[in-house]
Protein backbone atom coordinates (compact mmCIF):
# COMPACT_ATOMS: atom_id res chain seq x y z
CA UNK A 1 0.00 0.00 0.00
CA UNK A 2 1.58 3.35 -0.99
CA UNK A 3 2.09 5.76 1.87
CA UNK A 4 -0.33 8.64 2.21
CA UNK A 5 1.60 11.64 0.95
CA UNK A 6 -1.18 14.13 1.61
CA UNK A 7 -1.63 12.91 5.14
CA UNK A 8 2.06 13.10 5.87
CA UNK A 9 2.22 16.60 4.36
CA UNK A 10 -0.55 17.89 6.57
CA UNK A 11 0.84 16.42 9.78
CA UNK A 12 2.42 18.88 12.17
CA UNK A 13 6.10 18.19 12.74
CA UNK A 14 6.24 15.63 15.57
CA UNK A 15 8.33 16.79 18.44
CA UNK A 16 8.78 13.60 20.40
CA UNK A 17 9.88 10.10 19.59
CA UNK A 18 6.59 8.79 20.98
CA UNK A 19 4.63 10.86 18.43
CA UNK A 20 6.75 9.75 15.50
CA UNK A 21 6.58 6.13 16.62
CA UNK A 22 2.79 6.22 17.11
CA UNK A 23 2.08 7.84 13.74
CA UNK A 24 4.71 6.21 11.56
CA UNK A 25 5.61 2.79 12.95
CA UNK A 26 3.51 0.97 10.33
CA UNK A 27 5.02 3.09 7.55
CA UNK A 28 8.58 2.36 8.68
CA UNK A 29 7.84 -1.35 9.15
CA UNK A 30 6.31 -1.63 5.69
CA UNK A 31 9.15 0.24 4.00
CA UNK A 32 11.74 -1.86 5.84
CA UNK A 33 9.98 -5.08 4.86
CA UNK A 34 9.62 -3.96 1.25
CA UNK A 35 13.18 -2.70 0.85
CA UNK A 36 14.83 -5.44 2.86
CA UNK A 37 12.80 -8.35 1.54
CA UNK A 38 12.86 -11.72 3.28
CA UNK A 39 16.62 -11.42 3.95
CA UNK A 40 16.16 -9.13 6.95
CA UNK A 41 13.83 -8.98 9.94
CA UNK A 42 11.55 -5.98 9.50
CA UNK A 43 11.02 -5.64 13.25
CA UNK A 44 14.75 -5.37 13.85
CA UNK A 45 15.01 -2.87 11.02
CA UNK A 46 12.16 -0.75 12.44
CA UNK A 47 13.84 -0.81 15.84
CA UNK A 48 17.12 0.41 14.32
CA UNK A 49 15.29 3.16 12.43
CA UNK A 50 13.67 4.50 15.58
CA UNK A 51 16.97 4.33 17.45
CA UNK A 52 18.37 6.69 14.80
CA UNK A 53 15.21 8.83 15.05
CA UNK A 54 15.69 9.07 18.83
CA UNK A 55 19.24 10.32 18.33
CA UNK A 56 18.56 12.70 15.45
CA UNK A 57 15.05 14.01 16.09
CA UNK A 58 16.45 17.36 17.21
CA UNK A 59 18.09 17.84 13.83
CA UNK A 60 14.90 17.17 11.84
CA UNK A 61 13.94 20.13 9.66
CA UNK A 62 10.18 20.51 10.11
CA UNK A 63 9.80 22.23 6.73
CA UNK A 64 10.30 18.89 4.98
CA UNK A 65 8.12 15.79 5.10
CA UNK A 66 8.63 13.52 8.07
CA UNK A 67 8.02 10.49 5.83
CA UNK A 68 10.81 11.58 3.48
CA UNK A 69 13.15 11.88 6.44
CA UNK A 70 12.06 8.52 7.85
CA UNK A 71 12.38 6.94 4.44
CA UNK A 72 15.99 8.13 4.15
CA UNK A 73 16.83 6.63 7.54
CA UNK A 74 15.03 3.38 6.69
CA UNK A 75 16.95 3.14 3.42
CA UNK A 76 20.30 3.50 5.21
CA UNK A 77 19.35 1.07 7.96
CA UNK A 78 18.14 -1.54 5.47
CA UNK A 79 21.34 -1.16 3.42
CA UNK A 80 23.37 -1.67 6.57
CA UNK A 81 21.32 -4.71 7.67
CA UNK A 82 21.58 -6.26 4.22
CA UNK A 83 25.36 -5.78 4.29
CA UNK A 84 25.42 -7.36 7.73
CA UNK A 85 23.28 -10.28 6.49
CA UNK A 86 25.77 -10.82 3.63
CA UNK A 87 28.65 -10.88 6.12
CA UNK A 88 26.72 -13.33 8.31
CA UNK A 89 26.19 -15.57 5.32
CA UNK A 90 29.88 -15.27 4.44
CA UNK A 91 30.93 -16.42 7.90
CA UNK A 92 28.09 -18.97 8.17
CA UNK A 93 26.68 -17.30 11.25
CA UNK A 94 23.06 -17.92 10.26
CA UNK A 95 20.52 -15.39 9.06
CA UNK A 96 17.87 -13.13 10.50
CA UNK A 97 14.89 -13.66 8.28
CA UNK A 98 11.59 -11.92 7.99
CA UNK A 99 8.53 -13.95 8.91
CA UNK A 100 6.25 -12.08 6.51
CA UNK A 101 5.88 -15.08 4.24
CA UNK A 102 5.13 -17.37 7.15
CA UNK A 103 2.15 -15.28 8.17
CA UNK A 104 0.63 -15.45 4.73
CA UNK A 105 0.69 -19.12 3.91
CA UNK A 106 -2.96 -19.03 2.92
CA UNK A 107 -2.12 -16.92 -0.14
CA UNK A 108 0.40 -19.25 -1.66
CA UNK A 109 0.56 -17.72 -5.14
CA UNK A 110 1.19 -14.22 -3.76
CA UNK A 111 3.82 -15.47 -1.31
CA UNK A 112 5.44 -17.51 -4.06
CA UNK A 113 5.52 -14.52 -6.42
CA UNK A 114 6.96 -12.39 -3.60
CA UNK A 115 9.68 -14.96 -2.94
CA UNK A 116 10.64 -15.28 -6.60
CA UNK A 117 10.61 -11.50 -7.09
CA UNK A 118 12.95 -10.96 -4.14
CA UNK A 119 15.24 -13.81 -5.18
CA UNK A 120 15.68 -11.97 -8.47
CA UNK A 121 15.87 -8.53 -6.87
CA UNK A 122 18.60 -9.71 -4.51
CA UNK A 123 20.83 -10.19 -7.54
CA UNK A 124 20.26 -6.65 -8.83
CA UNK A 125 22.54 -3.77 -7.74
CA UNK A 126 21.20 -2.02 -4.59
CA UNK A 127 20.44 1.38 -6.17
CA UNK A 128 18.54 -0.11 -9.09
CA UNK A 129 16.81 -2.52 -6.73
CA UNK A 130 15.56 0.28 -4.45
CA UNK A 131 14.17 2.29 -7.34
CA UNK A 132 12.46 -0.80 -8.75
CA UNK A 133 10.81 -1.63 -5.42
CA UNK A 134 9.57 1.93 -4.91
CA UNK A 135 8.18 2.17 -8.43
CA UNK A 136 6.70 -1.26 -8.84
CA UNK A 137 5.69 -2.22 -5.29
CA UNK A 138 4.97 1.16 -3.73
CA UNK A 139 3.61 2.78 -6.88
CA UNK A 140 5.66 5.97 -6.55
CA UNK A 141 6.43 8.23 -9.51
CA UNK A 142 10.00 8.91 -10.60
CA UNK A 143 9.78 12.46 -9.22
CA UNK A 144 8.75 11.15 -5.82
CA UNK A 145 11.46 8.50 -5.85
CA UNK A 146 14.05 11.11 -6.84
CA UNK A 147 13.01 13.20 -3.86
CA UNK A 148 13.24 10.21 -1.50
CA UNK A 149 16.60 8.87 -2.65
CA UNK A 150 18.14 12.30 -3.28
CA UNK A 151 18.86 11.83 -6.99
CA UNK A 152 17.82 13.55 -10.21
CA UNK A 153 14.61 12.36 -11.85
CA UNK A 154 16.55 11.42 -15.00
CA UNK A 155 18.87 9.23 -12.91
CA UNK A 156 15.87 7.50 -11.37
CA UNK A 157 14.36 6.93 -14.82
CA UNK A 158 17.60 5.42 -16.02
CA UNK A 159 17.96 3.16 -12.97
CA UNK A 160 14.35 2.03 -13.26
CA UNK A 161 14.76 1.25 -16.94
CA UNK A 162 17.84 -0.90 -16.36
CA UNK A 163 16.36 -2.52 -13.24
CA UNK A 164 13.22 -3.55 -15.17
CA UNK A 165 15.32 -4.84 -18.04
CA UNK A 166 17.55 -6.86 -15.73
CA UNK A 167 14.55 -8.17 -13.79
CA UNK A 168 12.82 -9.37 -16.97
CA UNK A 169 16.04 -10.97 -18.25
CA UNK A 170 16.72 -12.76 -14.98
CA UNK A 171 13.13 -13.99 -14.81
CA UNK A 172 13.32 -15.30 -18.39
CA UNK A 173 16.63 -17.01 -17.59
CA UNK A 174 15.15 -18.57 -14.48
CA UNK A 175 12.10 -19.81 -16.40
CA UNK A 176 14.32 -21.38 -19.06
CA UNK A 177 16.44 -23.04 -16.37
CA UNK A 178 13.34 -24.44 -14.63
CA UNK A 179 12.03 -25.85 -17.90
CA UNK A 180 15.31 -27.70 -18.49
Amino acid sequence: MPYDREKSRSLPAPLTLEDVYRDHFDFVFRQAARLGGPAIDAEDAAQEVFMVVARKLETFDSSSLITTWLYGITLNVVRSLRRRARVRRLFELGEDKSDVAVRLLDRAEVVDAHRIAYEILDKIAPKKREVFILAEFEGLSCDEIAQLVGSKTETVWSRLHYARKEFAERLAHRTRKDKR
Binding site: F25, R30, E43, F50, A54, F91, G94, L105, R164, T175
Partner: protein, 396 residues
Amino acid sequence: VRTAWEEQPRARELVGRAAKLDIAPAPGARARVWQRLEQRRQLERERPERRRLGWAMFAAGAAFAAAIAAIFLPRTRTNEFTIASSSQPATLDLGGDGRVVAGPATRAHLLRSGRAVTLTLERGSLLAHVLPRIARAPFVIKTPAFSARVLGTVLRVVTHDDGTASIAVGHGAVEVTPNGRAPVIVHAGERWPASASDAPSAGELARMGRAHLEGTDAAALSPPAPTTPTATAPTTLSPRADASACADKRGEAAVTCWLDAADAAVGDPVRAESALYQAGFIRMHEMHDPAFALGIWERQRQRFPHGLLRDEAQTSIIDALVALKRTRAAEAEIADYLKLHPRGLRSAEMHFVRGTLLYSEDNSCRRAARELDVALARPAAPWAPRARAARAACRR
Protein backbone atom coordinates in the same frame (compact mmCIF):
# COMPACT_ATOMS: atom_id res chain seq x y z
CA VAL B 1 4.16 3.96 -27.59
CA ARG B 2 4.81 0.73 -25.68
CA THR B 3 7.83 0.74 -23.41
CA ALA B 4 10.17 -2.22 -23.07
CA TRP B 5 8.64 -3.00 -19.69
CA GLU B 6 5.12 -3.17 -21.14
CA GLU B 7 6.37 -5.84 -23.50
CA GLN B 8 7.34 -8.06 -20.56
CA PRO B 9 3.94 -9.43 -19.50
CA ARG B 10 5.39 -12.30 -17.42
CA ALA B 11 7.63 -10.03 -15.39
CA ARG B 12 4.86 -7.48 -14.91
CA GLU B 13 2.43 -10.17 -13.85
CA LEU B 14 4.90 -11.58 -11.31
CA VAL B 15 5.63 -8.14 -9.87
CA GLY B 16 1.91 -7.34 -9.79
CA ARG B 17 1.21 -10.48 -7.81
CA ALA B 18 4.18 -9.92 -5.47
CA ALA B 19 3.03 -6.34 -4.82
CA LYS B 20 -0.27 -7.68 -3.51
CA LEU B 21 1.52 -9.06 -0.46
CA ASP B 22 -0.03 -6.94 2.25
CA ILE B 23 2.87 -6.33 4.57
CA ALA B 24 1.75 -5.46 8.06
CA PRO B 25 3.43 -5.81 11.44
CA ALA B 26 2.58 -8.96 13.37
CA PRO B 27 0.17 -8.52 16.30
CA GLY B 28 2.12 -7.11 19.22
CA ALA B 29 5.05 -5.99 17.05
CA ARG B 30 4.47 -2.33 17.82
CA ALA B 31 4.64 -2.90 21.59
CA ARG B 32 7.51 -5.36 21.29
CA VAL B 33 9.70 -3.06 19.24
CA TRP B 34 8.88 -0.13 21.52
CA GLN B 35 9.92 -2.14 24.57
CA ARG B 36 13.25 -3.11 22.98
CA LEU B 37 13.75 0.46 21.86
CA GLU B 38 13.18 1.75 25.38
CA GLN B 39 15.69 -0.74 26.77
CA ARG B 40 18.34 0.35 24.31
CA ARG B 41 17.64 4.02 24.92
CA GLN B 42 17.91 3.44 28.65
CA LEU B 43 21.29 1.79 28.13
CA GLU B 44 22.43 4.70 25.98
CA ARG B 45 21.30 7.24 28.58
CA GLU B 46 23.28 5.45 31.25
CA ARG B 47 26.47 5.81 29.22
CA PRO B 48 28.27 9.18 29.10
CA GLU B 49 28.59 10.78 25.66
CA ARG B 50 32.38 10.68 25.45
CA ARG B 51 32.60 7.08 26.47
CA ARG B 52 29.90 6.22 23.95
CA LEU B 53 32.07 7.55 21.15
CA GLY B 54 35.07 5.75 22.55
CA TRP B 55 33.16 2.50 22.71
CA ALA B 56 31.88 2.96 19.17
CA MET B 57 35.46 3.36 17.94
CA PHE B 58 36.55 0.42 20.02
CA ALA B 59 33.67 -1.68 18.66
CA ALA B 60 34.53 -0.70 15.10
CA GLY B 61 38.17 -1.64 15.67
CA ALA B 62 37.21 -4.89 17.34
CA ALA B 63 34.82 -5.78 14.54
CA PHE B 64 37.52 -5.09 11.97
CA ALA B 65 40.03 -7.20 13.90
CA ALA B 66 37.45 -9.99 14.28
CA ALA B 67 36.71 -9.95 10.56
CA ILE B 68 40.43 -10.19 9.74
CA ALA B 69 40.87 -12.96 12.30
CA ALA B 70 37.84 -14.83 10.96
CA ILE B 71 39.41 -14.83 7.51
CA PHE B 72 42.94 -15.82 8.48
CA LEU B 73 42.61 -17.91 11.62
CA PRO B 74 41.73 -21.62 11.47
CA ARG B 75 38.05 -22.45 11.97
CA THR B 76 38.73 -24.15 15.31
CA ARG B 77 39.23 -20.80 17.03
CA THR B 78 37.83 -20.28 20.49
CA ASN B 79 35.84 -17.29 21.59
CA GLU B 80 33.97 -16.44 24.73
CA PHE B 81 31.54 -13.80 25.82
CA THR B 82 29.33 -13.01 28.75
CA ILE B 83 25.55 -12.74 28.69
CA ALA B 84 24.27 -10.36 31.37
CA SER B 85 20.64 -9.25 31.35
CA SER B 86 19.21 -6.39 33.40
CA SER B 87 15.82 -6.51 35.08
CA GLN B 88 14.27 -7.34 31.70
CA PRO B 89 14.74 -10.58 29.70
CA ALA B 90 17.12 -10.38 26.74
CA THR B 91 17.11 -12.39 23.52
CA LEU B 92 20.33 -13.66 22.02
CA ASP B 93 20.63 -15.17 18.58
CA LEU B 94 23.31 -17.87 18.55
CA GLY B 95 23.55 -17.89 14.77
CA GLY B 96 23.42 -21.45 13.51
CA ASP B 97 23.26 -22.85 17.05
CA GLY B 98 19.83 -21.54 17.98
CA ARG B 99 18.39 -18.84 20.17
CA VAL B 100 18.47 -18.07 23.89
CA VAL B 101 16.20 -15.88 26.01
CA ALA B 102 18.01 -14.84 29.20
CA GLY B 103 15.59 -14.17 32.07
CA PRO B 104 15.84 -11.12 34.34
CA ALA B 105 19.13 -10.69 36.24
CA THR B 106 20.81 -13.58 34.43
CA ARG B 107 24.55 -14.00 34.06
CA ALA B 108 26.03 -16.66 31.79
CA HIS B 109 29.18 -17.31 29.74
CA LEU B 110 29.14 -18.62 26.22
CA LEU B 111 32.25 -20.41 25.03
CA ARG B 112 32.66 -21.57 21.44
CA SER B 113 35.51 -23.88 20.63
CA GLY B 114 35.37 -24.98 17.02
CA ARG B 115 31.84 -26.26 16.61
CA ALA B 116 31.36 -27.08 20.29
CA VAL B 117 29.40 -24.64 22.43
CA THR B 118 29.44 -24.47 26.23
CA LEU B 119 26.94 -22.25 28.01
CA THR B 120 27.69 -21.80 31.71
CA LEU B 121 24.78 -20.40 33.70
CA GLU B 122 26.02 -18.61 36.84
CA ARG B 123 22.68 -17.24 37.96
CA GLY B 124 19.20 -16.62 36.62
CA SER B 125 17.39 -18.55 33.91
CA LEU B 126 17.73 -19.39 30.25
CA LEU B 127 15.04 -20.48 27.82
CA ALA B 128 16.92 -22.04 24.93
CA HIS B 129 16.09 -23.37 21.50
CA VAL B 130 19.10 -25.40 20.39
CA LEU B 131 19.05 -26.50 16.77
CA PRO B 132 19.82 -30.19 16.07
CA ARG B 133 23.55 -30.94 16.22
CA ILE B 134 25.96 -33.65 15.29
CA ALA B 135 27.53 -35.67 18.09
CA ARG B 136 31.02 -34.22 17.66
CA ALA B 137 29.73 -30.66 17.99
CA PRO B 138 28.05 -30.83 21.40
CA PHE B 139 26.06 -28.05 23.00
CA VAL B 140 26.62 -28.28 26.74
CA ILE B 141 24.82 -26.23 29.39
CA LYS B 142 26.61 -26.13 32.77
CA THR B 143 25.12 -25.10 36.10
CA PRO B 144 26.55 -25.41 39.63
CA ALA B 145 24.42 -28.57 40.12
CA PHE B 146 24.67 -30.40 36.80
CA SER B 147 25.74 -30.28 33.18
CA ALA B 148 23.35 -31.02 30.32
CA ARG B 149 24.31 -32.24 26.88
CA VAL B 150 21.81 -31.02 24.32
CA LEU B 151 21.31 -32.58 20.91
CA GLY B 152 18.64 -30.20 19.68
CA THR B 153 15.64 -29.16 21.69
CA VAL B 154 13.68 -26.46 23.46
CA LEU B 155 14.54 -26.30 27.14
CA ARG B 156 14.65 -24.05 30.16
CA VAL B 157 17.38 -24.08 32.77
CA VAL B 158 17.43 -22.14 36.06
CA THR B 159 20.18 -21.58 38.62
CA HIS B 160 19.18 -20.38 42.10
CA ASP B 161 21.22 -18.31 44.54
CA ASP B 162 21.67 -21.36 46.80
CA GLY B 163 23.50 -23.26 44.05
CA THR B 164 20.60 -25.55 43.12
CA ALA B 165 19.48 -25.75 39.53
CA SER B 166 16.72 -27.30 37.45
CA ILE B 167 15.98 -28.11 33.85
CA ALA B 168 12.69 -28.54 31.96
CA VAL B 169 12.60 -30.00 28.46
CA GLY B 170 9.85 -28.94 26.08
CA HIS B 171 10.92 -30.80 22.97
CA GLY B 172 13.44 -33.55 22.16
CA ALA B 173 15.70 -34.95 24.90
CA VAL B 174 18.64 -33.82 27.05
CA GLU B 175 21.31 -35.88 28.80
CA VAL B 176 21.73 -34.43 32.30
CA THR B 177 24.75 -35.36 34.40
CA PRO B 178 24.25 -34.31 38.05
CA ASN B 179 27.51 -33.56 39.89
CA GLY B 180 29.05 -36.85 41.01
CA ARG B 181 26.19 -39.01 39.70
CA ALA B 182 25.34 -41.06 36.64
CA PRO B 183 23.71 -39.32 33.66
CA VAL B 184 19.94 -39.41 33.20
CA ILE B 185 17.95 -38.68 30.05
CA VAL B 186 15.28 -36.01 30.44
CA HIS B 187 12.65 -36.26 27.70
CA ALA B 188 10.12 -33.81 26.33
CA GLY B 189 7.62 -32.71 28.96
CA GLU B 190 9.88 -33.85 31.83
CA ARG B 191 11.86 -31.93 34.45
CA TRP B 192 14.95 -32.56 36.54
CA PRO B 193 14.79 -32.60 39.49
CA ALA B 194 11.21 -33.87 39.32
CA SER B 195 10.22 -31.55 42.17
CA ALA B 196 11.39 -28.42 40.31
CA SER B 197 8.78 -25.69 40.10
CA ASP B 198 10.47 -23.10 37.85
CA ALA B 199 8.41 -21.99 34.88
CA PRO B 200 9.17 -19.57 32.05
CA SER B 201 7.39 -16.23 32.10
CA ALA B 202 4.97 -15.25 29.37
CA GLY B 203 7.45 -12.56 28.30
CA GLU B 204 10.25 -15.09 27.85
CA LEU B 205 8.01 -17.38 25.80
CA ALA B 206 6.93 -14.42 23.67
CA ARG B 207 10.55 -13.41 23.12
CA MET B 208 11.48 -16.90 22.07
CA GLY B 209 8.94 -16.60 19.25
CA ARG B 210 6.46 -19.20 18.05
CA ALA B 211 8.69 -20.60 15.33
CA HIS B 212 11.44 -21.23 17.89
CA LEU B 213 9.21 -23.12 20.30
CA GLU B 214 8.70 -26.00 17.86
CA GLY B 215 5.23 -26.81 19.03
CA THR B 216 6.28 -26.53 22.67
CA ASP B 217 4.12 -24.26 24.80
CA ALA B 218 4.15 -22.93 28.32
CA ALA B 219 2.45 -26.10 29.57
CA ALA B 220 5.34 -28.26 28.35
CA LEU B 221 7.91 -26.18 30.22
CA SER B 222 5.87 -25.50 33.34
CA PRO B 223 5.61 -27.93 36.25
CA PRO B 224 2.47 -30.09 36.24
CA ALA B 225 -0.33 -28.90 38.50
CA PRO B 226 -0.16 -30.73 41.84
CA THR B 227 -2.89 -33.35 41.92
CA THR B 228 -2.01 -35.13 45.17
CA PRO B 229 -0.32 -34.15 48.43
CA THR B 230 2.73 -36.14 47.28
CA ALA B 231 3.50 -33.45 44.69
CA THR B 232 6.15 -32.15 47.07
CA ALA B 233 7.94 -35.51 47.12
CA PRO B 234 11.73 -35.39 47.40
CA THR B 235 13.87 -35.01 44.32
CA THR B 236 13.76 -38.00 41.99
CA LEU B 237 17.05 -38.86 40.36
CA SER B 238 15.57 -40.48 37.30
CA PRO B 239 12.39 -38.93 35.95
CA ARG B 240 11.63 -42.20 34.17
CA ALA B 241 12.23 -44.47 37.12
CA ASP B 242 8.78 -46.09 36.81
CA ALA B 243 9.54 -46.98 33.21
CA SER B 244 12.76 -48.80 34.08
CA ALA B 245 10.98 -52.18 33.89
CA CYS B 246 10.33 -51.71 30.16
CA ALA B 247 13.75 -50.16 29.53
CA ASP B 248 15.41 -53.39 30.72
CA LYS B 249 13.50 -55.54 28.23
CA ARG B 250 14.44 -56.18 24.60
CA GLY B 251 12.56 -56.90 21.37
CA GLU B 252 8.99 -58.12 21.43
CA ALA B 253 8.89 -58.16 25.24
CA ALA B 254 9.91 -54.47 25.35
CA VAL B 255 7.27 -53.50 22.78
CA THR B 256 4.55 -55.34 24.68
CA CYS B 257 5.72 -53.78 27.95
CA TRP B 258 5.60 -50.23 26.50
CA LEU B 259 2.19 -50.83 24.91
CA ASP B 260 0.87 -52.11 28.25
CA ALA B 261 2.43 -49.08 29.98
CA ALA B 262 0.63 -46.81 27.50
CA ASP B 263 -2.70 -48.46 28.25
CA ALA B 264 -2.07 -48.36 32.00
CA ALA B 265 -1.10 -44.67 32.14
CA VAL B 266 -4.68 -43.45 31.83
CA GLY B 267 -4.29 -40.36 34.00
CA ASP B 268 -0.85 -39.44 32.69
CA PRO B 269 -1.08 -38.57 28.98
CA VAL B 270 2.58 -37.55 28.70
CA ARG B 271 3.77 -40.92 29.95
CA ALA B 272 1.24 -42.84 27.84
CA GLU B 273 2.23 -40.94 24.71
CA SER B 274 5.92 -41.42 25.46
CA ALA B 275 5.38 -45.19 25.97
CA LEU B 276 3.61 -45.54 22.62
CA TYR B 277 6.37 -43.63 20.89
CA GLN B 278 8.98 -45.83 22.56
CA ALA B 279 7.17 -49.01 21.42
CA GLY B 280 7.13 -47.78 17.82
CA PHE B 281 10.79 -46.79 18.03
CA ILE B 282 11.87 -50.27 19.17
CA ARG B 283 9.71 -51.95 16.52
CA MET B 284 11.25 -49.75 13.82
CA HIS B 285 14.90 -49.46 14.79
CA GLU B 286 15.60 -52.61 16.80
CA MET B 287 13.21 -55.08 15.17
CA HIS B 288 13.30 -53.46 11.70
CA ASP B 289 9.54 -53.76 11.29
CA PRO B 290 8.38 -50.41 9.80
CA ALA B 291 4.84 -51.66 9.09
CA PHE B 292 4.16 -52.51 12.74
CA ALA B 293 5.94 -49.33 13.90
CA LEU B 294 3.79 -47.27 11.55
CA GLY B 295 0.65 -48.78 13.11
CA ILE B 296 1.84 -47.87 16.62
CA TRP B 297 2.74 -44.29 15.71
CA GLU B 298 -0.55 -43.80 13.86
CA ARG B 299 -2.33 -45.06 16.96
CA GLN B 300 -0.26 -42.58 19.03
CA ARG B 301 -1.21 -39.72 16.72
CA GLN B 302 -4.87 -40.68 16.79
CA ARG B 303 -4.90 -40.91 20.60
CA PHE B 304 -2.82 -37.75 21.18
CA PRO B 305 -3.44 -35.42 18.23
CA HIS B 306 -2.11 -32.46 20.25
CA GLY B 307 0.44 -34.39 22.32
CA LEU B 308 3.93 -33.23 23.16
CA LEU B 309 5.44 -35.86 20.88
CA ARG B 310 3.15 -35.22 17.91
CA ASP B 311 6.01 -33.84 15.81
CA GLU B 312 8.22 -36.84 16.66
CA ALA B 313 5.33 -39.15 15.78
CA GLN B 314 4.84 -37.43 12.44
CA THR B 315 8.51 -37.52 11.47
CA SER B 316 8.73 -41.15 12.58
CA ILE B 317 5.67 -41.95 10.45
CA ILE B 318 7.49 -40.36 7.52
CA ASP B 319 10.56 -42.54 8.22
CA ALA B 320 8.35 -45.63 8.31
CA LEU B 321 6.50 -44.70 5.10
CA VAL B 322 9.83 -44.16 3.32
CA ALA B 323 11.07 -47.53 4.57
CA LEU B 324 7.86 -49.13 3.26
CA LYS B 325 8.35 -47.33 -0.09
CA ARG B 326 4.96 -45.63 0.28
CA THR B 327 6.33 -42.58 -1.50
CA ARG B 328 3.09 -40.68 -2.13
CA ALA B 329 1.96 -41.00 1.48
CA ALA B 330 5.42 -39.98 2.71
CA GLU B 331 5.43 -36.90 0.47
CA ALA B 332 1.98 -35.90 1.72
CA GLU B 333 3.15 -36.21 5.35
CA ILE B 334 6.30 -34.22 4.59
CA ALA B 335 4.24 -31.47 2.93
CA ASP B 336 1.98 -31.38 5.97
CA TYR B 337 4.95 -31.20 8.37
CA LEU B 338 6.66 -28.43 6.40
CA LYS B 339 3.43 -26.46 6.19
CA LEU B 340 3.09 -26.57 9.98
CA HIS B 341 6.81 -26.14 10.72
CA PRO B 342 8.48 -24.28 7.85
CA ARG B 343 11.51 -23.74 10.08
CA GLY B 344 11.05 -26.70 12.41
CA LEU B 345 13.82 -28.67 14.03
CA ARG B 346 13.61 -31.32 11.34
CA SER B 347 12.40 -29.22 8.42
CA ALA B 348 15.80 -29.29 6.68
CA GLU B 349 15.91 -33.07 7.07
CA MET B 350 12.38 -33.30 5.65
CA HIS B 351 13.53 -31.33 2.60
CA PHE B 352 16.40 -33.81 2.30
CA VAL B 353 14.00 -36.80 2.45
CA ARG B 354 11.68 -35.18 -0.07
CA GLY B 355 14.68 -34.41 -2.31
CA THR B 356 15.82 -38.04 -2.26
CA LEU B 357 12.26 -39.26 -2.92
CA LEU B 358 11.92 -36.92 -5.87
CA TYR B 359 15.37 -37.89 -7.13
CA SER B 360 14.50 -41.57 -7.13
CA GLU B 361 11.19 -41.04 -8.92
CA ASP B 362 12.03 -38.07 -11.18
CA ASN B 363 15.31 -38.51 -13.00
CA SER B 364 15.27 -34.93 -14.25
CA CYS B 365 16.54 -33.82 -10.83
CA ARG B 366 15.01 -30.37 -11.18
CA ARG B 367 12.69 -30.47 -8.18
CA ALA B 368 14.99 -32.77 -6.24
CA ALA B 369 17.87 -30.31 -6.56
CA ARG B 370 15.72 -27.49 -5.21
CA GLU B 371 14.81 -29.55 -2.13
CA LEU B 372 18.41 -30.63 -1.57
CA ASP B 373 19.59 -27.03 -1.80
CA VAL B 374 17.15 -26.07 0.94
CA ALA B 375 18.26 -29.05 3.03
CA LEU B 376 21.93 -28.11 2.64
CA ALA B 377 21.28 -24.84 4.44
CA ARG B 378 22.29 -27.05 7.39
CA PRO B 379 25.64 -28.31 6.10
CA ALA B 380 26.67 -29.95 9.39
CA ALA B 381 23.64 -32.25 9.71
CA PRO B 382 24.38 -36.00 9.88
CA TRP B 383 22.61 -36.59 6.57
CA ALA B 384 24.31 -33.64 4.83
CA PRO B 385 27.04 -35.77 3.15
CA ARG B 386 24.32 -37.89 1.49
CA ALA B 387 22.46 -34.73 0.45
CA ARG B 388 25.66 -33.33 -1.05
CA ALA B 389 26.30 -36.57 -2.91
CA ALA B 390 22.75 -36.57 -4.32
CA ARG B 391 23.13 -32.91 -5.29
CA ALA B 392 26.42 -33.65 -7.05
CA ALA B 393 24.78 -36.57 -8.87
CA CYS B 394 22.05 -34.17 -10.00
CA ARG B 395 24.67 -31.76 -11.37
CA ARG B 396 26.26 -34.55 -13.40
